[in-house]
Symmetry: none
Subunit: 212 residues, 4 copies
DNA sequence: CATGAATGAGTCTTCATTCAT
DNA sequence: GATGAATGAAGACTCATTCAT
């Protein structure tokens, strides 16, 4: 290593950036393949080919196959955690629609990550715990708090907040799945907004005509 | 050996029953393991051990590992298809609650089957098509018909029936998943009924207090 | 075992005959299958099915799969050894034609045995030694003696008797192989005689027109 | 690493050569083992050991076990097909002796290949068709043409050309087999020539002294 | 750092043989 | 004797990981 020059900091950081860029390439390519075939059915050879490098090179950037999977999932942590922050401030119907819309946007713009996540959750308890359980609890709490406040304020009916929040998640899941599985095209932003509004409306007022 | 009777049909049928029993043992054991570790991460040795037999014996009853998976899924087809029949006649809120309740009952009493199904859907397109797509369409149509009639009759608000039915399925999914993943105990029949009623209520009237 | 009756000899011999008959059925069926698929590619299940019995039953009559193979080959020992006897008395062209004709007849009427034999000779040294080497030496000696006497008597040219006898065997082999492999139909007795005569003629006088 | 040159063709070709060399090593080792034990009785582990590599490495160079077998046989196609070319021009006794001599030389210098070929012909119809039938027909036609012309020219007696060519092949076969089976040492070139001459003489003039 | 050949433990599957009925 | 289910030792093949170049 030629650390002959005193100022090897910039170089070092350039190296860091290069490494990070390379990792990203691998992650992106891998997410694509994992989403298509599932983690267990994907070989490292395929990953290497998709990332346009040799098999061995993968191991310069990741500990192993599984490490790539975890990196993919980590990738989504940031935007999701940002969402979680927003969700805390749920106040009005508009907030609600916004959150749902944003969530749909995030997952749909990372279809491969999402599908990989959903695929592995079932099989891998570590992943379930690390990437899902905690966050779901967060969301659940936010929603429950929102509903709780609504009930207190007399705006919402007194319903079991837990079941309610579970239903919201399920609704959300169901909206994404057909897109994930290619059964439905990714919606345009306008369509997505429409879906979010319908979903929130439905949640708030149900499908029954208000008896007047 | 009762070769005293000329017809050896009973013997033959006894053999058939024995074979069927053995297949059931394997299926049950395999569903357990598949549910725990996923299809791809399960070895035939493990399946054999779980069914308390030698590896080779599996192949006396099934064509191969994948055949066992398909048999597991087929196992659920009957009760599910029966449900589909019932769903056609959706008329009242009570019908709705009944269906949801029954559905929850079926899936929760076959947790291993359900979990295996959900696990493999993501990875295996054949399974997705054969075991899910058709049935979901059925359900979707029933629900959409129910909603459509409600709208016509002026009982329901005019909402996008497709999004609505998707939400129903998602709700349903979300209710099952925590149980599947062992995050929540299997509910008692009473609890289950309660959940079903809450879910249907929520769906029909939303969470918002009726403006009067 | 009911050895209660004094005269169980006849019964015993009837039993022996029954056993022998059963062995024959197995041998015949097995030769068929071995000839078609080769020893190594034939399963005991197939043998059992062909002999119309259960797999386990085979083991009441033979030590194992290989034992069946050996029995098949033994089957041919008798007629072949009879041939060897005849071959000793080779005197005239007619004798020669007769022997060749008879040999063709034997092998062609036991095509399955022959093909099985030829297949396994290459792989199995025991079989090579037990069933072939000794007999070939016999034949070789007979032919060499025949030729030797001919040379002495001035009827035959002085050629290397060993090469000559090898050629005779080869000729013989080549005549059988196409039939064995189904590339040519089994000849009628008349055709067979014709072939034998041509072959012997060729051997004796070559294809070249006699310079006169 | 000489990445100094823009074109990396030489490196690529060196790689190609290395691959080809490795394939050859495997083929040579495998031919040895197949010849000794037969294809079906040889395990991939044995092949790997014989080629002094791990089992998995075989699969970097061949599709599978059977592919190795086919490669072995293909190996002989070149020299054999060259022979076929020569055989077309059969004119004189000398030509004939030459061809026989060369043929013996080829097969005897590739004993393992030859033995493997002969072993599998019986069992594997694809091999029979691909590697043998076509070529035998070629040879048969050449010989028959040679004989036919001889008969026309009055040099040869009018014999069935088919039987004759079959006999020639048989003779040839018989000359090789004892060497293949280790019952006779590989002949020296001189001995081989002698054998070829004897065989051709025998074929042309038979063993009978010309009646004058 | 990049490469990709080598590795060998691990997989699914087959099948000759045994043995309880 | 007959049966055929059970067995488990191999066998062909795969693939994540290592490492020499």
């Amino acid at each position: 290593m030629d650390s002959t020059r005193g100022d090897h900091h910039p170089r070092h950081s350039r190296r860091q950036r290069r490494i990070e860029r390379r990792r990203q390439e691998i992650i992106t390519a891998a997410a694509q393949i994992f989403a298509e075939k599932g983690y267990a059915n994907t070989t490292t050879k395929e990953l290497a080919d998709a990332a346009d490098m040799a098999e061995g090179t993968l191991y310069n950037y990741f500990e192993g196959k599984r490490d790539i999977l975890l990196a993919i999932l980590n990738e989504m942590s940031l935007p999701i955690d940002a969402l979680l922050q927003d969700a805390r401030a749920l106040q009005s119907r508009e907030d609600f629609v916004d959150i749902v819309d944003k969530s749909l946007a995030i997952f749909m713009s990372h279809l491969n990550f999402t599908r990989t996540l959903l695929t592995e959750i079932w099989v891998d308890d570590v992943i379930l715990e690390d990437f899902v359980v905690g966050r779901l609890q967060h969301i659940g709490q936010s929603v429950q708090a929102f509903i709780g406040k609504g009930i207190e304020a007399g705006r919402f009916r007194a319903m079991d907040p837990e079941i309610t929040s579970v239903m919201i998640l399920g609704t959300f899941l169901a909206l994404i799945i057909p897109v994930l599985r290619g059964k439905r095209p990714t919606p345009t932003p306008q369509e997505r907004r429409k879906v979010a509004e319908t979903a929130v409306d439905l949640l708030l007022d149900g499908i029954r005509v208000r008896a007047m």
